[in-house]
């Protein structure tokens, strides 16, 4: 698969990464190599193997529905860049 510059730009945008124009060709080449590796993996015959959702052969443990909570708001919000009235502040977002 050809990893062209547009695909790199779109992928960077999806990941919200600021990628300078000058770095795009190099990143495209790196991604291309990763895709080659995936291509190699794809060539392995897996017809007789059922898909796994997780590398561990275990079931999801469950938790009882019991409140386990202390109000640690002050500590948890301590490293937020901006806080007011107990709310995290972010640049305005309106859909």
């Amino acid at each position: 698969m050809a990893f062209d510059q547009d695909t790199v730009r779109r992928t960077a945008h999806l990941a919200r990464m600021a990628l300078p124009q000058t770095e795009i060709p190099a990143v495209a080449e790196q991604l291309e190599r990763i895709m080659e590796l995936i291509g190699t993996l794809r060539a392995i015959g897996t017809e007789d193997t059922s898909p796994m959702a997780h590398p561990l052969d275990l079931d999801q443990p469950l938790r009882s529905d019991t409140v386990d909570h202390r109000d640690r708001r002050a500590v948890l919000m301590a490293n937020a860049p901006a806080v007011e009235h107990g709310l995290f502040l972010v640049p305005k977002v309106i859909e």
Binding site: A53, D59, Q60, R63, L76, G86, L87, P91, K92
Partner: protein, 476 residues
């Protein structure tokens, strides 16, 4: 040739668990902003989710109630998108393998027929937080108390053909989740909300391009939004235009849907299995245990009401809309005429609740009091008309049925002698009307009944008044 409307609904039911789906934070509504948060729901590095078993059990309950396939193994996936109220940068949801597979829901249509609507799937996922835009300039405030609240997303097949069918489906599902006690159904607070997919096509043609209307939080908004959207699409198609696949918002104030600024890559969620969570395996013992806790479901209760109380289908349907209402009715109907009890619950009671804007759960008149009131009509202590006055009193001021009857002197007059005296007085006072009646003006009977009832302050037994009046008036 006309257009066929095709509607499918995606419903988000907030599961009424005590804690969030992947952490022990409380889900109580209305707490101080961000006070119900922890490293897991704030997405602190290294924090790991652990699944809440109550959320799983509630999903199983819904699956059993709609006769769905329960997937013995289901998988949690990450749905990736960026929004400030989603701290991890992805929502934990289920994608390829949801916990609940195909099921059905039967709806009743206004023409009395029934229709089976397919449910494609229901999957567990976490809710996002809330963004508050009003209070700040150039900034939004983020409250993550709701982040991580368990949701069950219930997706229907595109089986509905009109707004009325969509509303019937949503109402049925709303009643069901409340019966099952898996969701409080509070639409205003957003505990039960709906997205609608709608498209038009020529009958028999493949599905048309659809628009998705987001976040409809009342039955009326769903109906209005669909009506508007159908008219909009029909207009475009008839002018030879094309429908753009997009997400639209319903503006209740203007009664119209409008396009949300469509983000080019909005639908590229890049789902993949969440490596922090193992596959969810439902063991038969768990399913059996949940099955054992299921209440009598609405359809079965409705059939029983028709059989046990000899009620018409309509009455049985209304009375079984909610479990609390059905229980209330059954308490009223003990030892009294079941149809009379149904009329009182559906008429006076629901009317008064509706007018006062309160729910049956907080009804000021207990079922026991209403039963006593109906009993007093049956034993002829009071007339139906007086009973309505007493009901008003009970509803607005409280008190006891018998005490109100005695205190206000409302006991019905059933003494034939006393009624005859009242009748004689009225007949004597209206010689002209008596002559007219005898000359053939039958309609005047109503006038005489009215006069006697007025003279008795509404307390005379209407049947006896009728009989004695006719007897006196026909006597030359």
């Amino acid at each position: 040739m006309g257009w066929e409307v095709v509607i499918g609904l995606e419903v988000h039911a907030q599961l009424n668990t005590a804690t969030k789906i992947f952490c022990g934070c409380s889900t109580t509504f209305g707490a101080e902003p961000n006070s119900h948060t922890c490293p897991v729901c704030l997405a602190m590095p290294g924090a790991l989710p652990v699944l809440n078993e109550a959320a799983v059990d509630k999903a199983i309950a819904l699956g059993l109630a709609i006769g769905a396939e329960l997937n013995r193994q289901s998988v949690f996936a990450r749905k990736n998108y960026f929004y400030p109220d989603l701290p991890k940068g992805y929502q934990i949801s289920q994608y390829e393998l949801p916990v609940v597979g195909k099921g059905t829901l039967t709806i009743s249509l206004t023409d009395g027929t029934e229709k089976v609507v397919g449910v494609t799937r229901a999957h567990l996922e976490e809710d996002a937080g809330k963004s508050l835009h009003e209070a700040f300039v150039d900034q939004s405030g983020i409250d993550l108390n709701r982040a991580g609240t368990p949701l069950l997303e219930i997706v229907s097949e595109p089986d509905m053909r009109s707004p009325a069918e969509a509303v019937a489906y949503l109402k049925k599902l709303h009643a069901l989740v409340r019966y099952l006690d898996i969701c409080d159904g509070n639409m205003q607070e957003g505990s039960f909300r709906c997205d609608a997919n709608v498209s038009l096509r020529r009958p028999g043609a493949p599905l048309g391009t659809r628009a998705e209307i987001k976040n409809l939080n009342s039955f009326r908004f769903l109906e209005k939004a669909l009506e508007y959207e159908i008219a909009r699409q029909r207009d475009i198609l008839e002018r030879g235009g094309c429908i753009v696949q997009e997400t639209r918002l319903y503006d209740a104030g203007r009664g119209e849907t409008r396009s949300m600024r469509s983000k080019e890559e909005a639908n590229d969620y890049r789902y993949f299995p969440d490596p922090d969570l193992l596959p969810l395996v439902l063991d038969p013992a768990r399913i059996a245990r949940v099955r054992g806790t299921l209440p009598e479901l609405p359809d079965i209760k409705r059939a029983r009401f028709m059989r046990q109380y000899a009620l018409p289908a309509y009455d049985a349907g209304v009375l079984t809309m909610s479990r609390v209402l059905a229980d209330y009715y059954e308490q009223v109907a003990v030892g009294v005429d079941s149809k009379l009890a149904a009329n009182w619950v559906m008429g006076e009671l629901l009317g008064a609740l509706n007018k006062a804007g309160i729910e049956i759960e907080t009804c000021p008149v207990s079922a026991e009091k209403l039963r006593l009131l109906v009993q007093r009509i049956e034993d002829q202590t009071i007339s139906g008309k007086i009973a309505k006055e007493i009901f008003e009193d009970l509803f607005h001021s409280g008190g006891e049925v018998d005490a109100i009857i005695e205190k206000r002197g409302l006991r019905q007059i059933t003494d034939t002698g006393a009624i005859a005296a009242l009748v004689d007085g009225i007949v004597a006072a209206h010689p002209q009307q008596v002559a007219d009646f005898r000359a053939g003006k039958d309609k005047l009977l109503g006038f005489f009944v009215g006069q006697v009832m007025k003279a008795s302050k509404g307390k005379a037994n209407p049947d006896q008044v009728n009989t004695i009046l006719l007897e006196r008036l026909r006597k030359e």
